[in-house]
């Protein structure tokens, strides 16, 4: 179970599926490139290159503001571990239009691939479940990619998918680091 057989760049696209199903908050680091590789840096995603730990709370605020839209937080395990209490805040409110897809490669890719806690026995799916998130799943092989794809589209409860991948590079993709420009683009696309 602890083996990491899925290649990151191959595993994220089939789970994410049609990116237009979501408003997306992409967490600091590789998740921004994971998303940009699929959506071509379209304005339905807001990428974070700082404020580590902000992805889940931003997704929650967005999901509460827009109950008519599905919101996906796509982030890494290092970013998520920095604000793991936010999982409890999500669990308590249980917004059915919010899902978290945590791409867990067991390493801090941005800083030189040091091992993260999930390479040392920490299980973030268990923590999400313990935080009260009712629909959770670990995807660690090709046989469960479809189940992950479907669970982040669950509408009755908030959901959490831990996508366990190897420590390879994300697909090459570029996105704008200008957080203010990205905010304006995102709001223009959503709000007109």
């Amino acid at each position: 179970m602890n083996e990491r057989v899925l290649r990151r760049a191959d595993a994220v696209p089939p789970v994410l599926g049609d990116h237009e199903d979501f408003l997306i908050i992409a967490g600091l680091g590789s998740p921004c490139r994971d998303v940009a590789a699929v959506n071509g840096a379209a304005p339905n995603a807001y990428p974070l290159s700082g404020a580590m730990g902000a992805a889940t709370p931003i997704g929650l605020g967005l999901a509460l503001a827009r109950p008519d839209r599905r919101v996906l937080v796509l982030t890494g395990e290092g970013e998520l571990l920095m604000s793991v209490g936010a999982l409890a805040t999500v669990g308590v409110l249980d917004p059915g239009n919010l899902s978290i897809l945590c791409v867990d490669n067991g390493h801090y890719g941005e800083t030189g691939y040091q091992k993260s806690h999930t390479s040392r026995g920490v299980d973030l799916e268990l923590m999400a479940r313990g935080a009260g998130i009712r629909r959770t799943l670990t995807v660690a092989g090709e046989d469960t990619l479809k189940a992950g794809h479907d669970l982040i589209r669950e509408t009755e409860h908030a959901s959490f998918v831990l996508l366990r991948v190897d420590a390879s590079e994300p697909a090459p993709a570029r996105f704008d680091l200008n957080a203010a420009a990205n905010r304006l683009r995102f709001r223009e696309a959503l709000l007109g």
Binding site: G53, T56, A65, R183
Partner: protein, 172 residues
């Protein structure tokens, strides 16, 4: 007859609602009891109990991305938890509105509250947040209105600091 001296917490809640705030994020605090309780009881708003104040900085940005307005209710000790997260408001030019109940301020009897109480304004200003003190009940509503205008009219980061001259000091 509404008394401005004793009813300012209710007046503050009404002012925030009239300002279009629909998400009230908080870490439980005695100084914000009325605001918290009213937001929980109000079907027109979402009351969000946070595990740590920095979640509230992200929540406000997320609400803004969706076209909604949020406020973070916290104690001065929570300001310290928000420092790096305030990069989000500064870099993304997000509006940011917080109402801070002060501790470690006038009349404080708990020594643990003083370091962060004294650093509250310094810390917020260092991260680009405008700080406005409220010492008197009559200034609560006008200051809150000004803060809402600054945040959601002019896109600024603003903190309303409810001082212990206003809210009193907890007895020790």
């Amino acid at each position: 007859m509404v008394s401005v001296t004793t009813d300012w917490p209710d007046a503050l809640y009404e002012t925030l609602k009239e300002g279009g705030i629909t998400q009230f994020a908080y870490v439980p605090d005695a100084g914000h009891k009325v605001l918290i309780d009213r937001s929980i009881a109000d079907p027109d708003v979402v009351s969000v109990s946070l595990t740590t104040e920095e979640e509230g900085v992200g929540l406000i940005a997320g609400a803004d991305l969706g076209g909604a307005r949020a406020v973070l209710l916290m104690q001065s000790s929570g300001v310290g938890n928000c420092i790096n997260m305030l990069s989000l408001a500064a870099t993304g030019r997000f509006p940011f509105l917080t109402v801070v109940s002060m501790r470690g301020d006038f009349g404080e009897g708990n020594p643990w509250q003083y370091p962060m109480g004294r650093a509250t304004r310094t810390t917020l200003e260092a991260m680009g947040v405008i700080c406005w003190d409220v010492d008197e009940p009559a200034q609560v509503v006008p200051t809150a209105k000004a803060a809402i205008t600054a945040a959601y009219g002019a896109g600024q980061s603003v903190a309303v600091l409810l001082t212990q001259r206003l809210i009193g000091a907890k007895p020790f």
